[in-house]
Subunit: 209 residues, 2 copies
DNA sequence: GAAGTAATTGATCTAGCGATCAATAGGAAA
DNA sequence: TTTCCTATTGATCGCTAGATCAATTACTTC
């Protein structure tokens, strides 16, 4: 009667297994937020014993930071692509606002907000949050600089204005998360505010809504 | 040798004790955030057995929501007072931006951000967050309406603009929390954006920085 | 002064967390 | 085939969380 029903073992190359575990963690974070990332939840999702997760990710704090960085990195790349398809700086700024406020990013807003909150108790995550914010800032700053070069925009501090724009958009997304309201209807107004900040003519930054 | 060193009991009127417990919880939340609100931490702070906290606050979720509501309520009243001392609508809007971005409210920004994150797993807190956001919105909307009445502002949707302003300011405060950067230097720029949103003349909303 | 009410205590229960580790077994190398 | 390495397992440790409750005791009432 020694029917110890043990899980069938499948041995994989370490790199592959490690990738699977991170993929499982990323999927959980996307669906349920960073706070749902527990050792056991990730193990179950990956179809693996909890000890194996710990083997590949010695501390959960690091895994959370890694997943956060991966998710935001993916989003930044996505937005870079959307925005890169538009040539005119003003239109590009409009496309940025559009895509960041189209309501399709609520999953990532959860991650973003939880990142802010959890970073206070997780140093690795705090570093990841800071790093990803700077990626955003760099992206936005380059759009503003382009606009200044073509004369569409006019500001002496594109870097600071970029931070301000990011803060605004993040805040509006966080608010829509908390209120269950739609962000889309703020896009046009945000474009007007953005024009004031970058020194563009009123109405020159187009949004699709 | 029956020296069971038990805590000396002090019996108080239920209302007084309940108030003490809430005060202890509020102090912890202010200093360390909402996530530091544990049954035992509150009990220790209040100088009381853990069971007594549970006696007065049957669930921690409710206590967290209550503390959140109290803290934000206090802040709203404070801002109402600051802003109420200014007669001119444009100056009042400037005073609002000033006081919300003077960097003295980092403690409450932590509470605010944690509220967003924790509300997803705490229904009572979610309701409190929604309620407090509406208080802010009402406050800002009334300023905008005043400005429209005097002709200083011009917008057909003061309520929507109020939501937008709140989102912007919250986002910038959250950002400064995450980056460890100063919010103050964004105040002037935020005033420019606010002018665009409420339909005020550029430079008409004054900030002290 | 006695009796009763209820405020208060602290131990205890269940549940979940991250982390650790001896034991097991898959698969490559000899 | 046999040997060896290590990927993998699952039990377990220590800790903290919220919640529960019988026992205790301070205070009110009669």
């Amino acid at each position: 009667m020694s029917s110890t029903s043990s899980r069938p073992r499948t041995r994989k190359p370490p790199a592959e297994r490690a990738a699977e575990i991170i993929a499982a963690a990323t999927a959980i974070a996307r669906e349920q937020g960073l706070s749902a990332l527990t050792l056991r939840a990730v193990a179950e999702r990956a179809g693996v014993a909890s000890g194996l997760v710990a083997h590949y990710q010695p501390t959960m704090d690091d895994l959370v930071a890694r997943v956060y960085a991966d998710l935001v990195d993916e989003e930044v790349r996505d937005v870079e692509q959307v925005v890169g398809a538009v040539a005119d700086p003003a239109a590009r700024l409009g496309a940025l606002i559009d895509t960041l406020m189209d309501g399709e990013r609520e999953e990532l807003t959860v991650v973003w907000v939880e990142g802010w909150a959890m970073a206070r108790r997780n140093d690795a995550l705090a570093r990841a949050v800071a790093a990803q914010m700077e990626r955003w800032q760099t992206l936005v700053e380059s759009i503003i600089e382009d606009g200044c070069r073509t004369g569409a925009f006019s500001t002496t501090e594109p870097g600071e204005v970029a931070w301000e724009l990011i803060g605004m958009i993040d805040g509006l997304n966080a608010q829509s998360l908390a209120r269950g309201a739609d962000t889309t209807r703020f896009a046009a107004r945000t474009a007007r505010a953005a024009e004031a900040l970058v020194g563009a003519a009123p109405g020159s930054v187009p949004v699709s809504s």
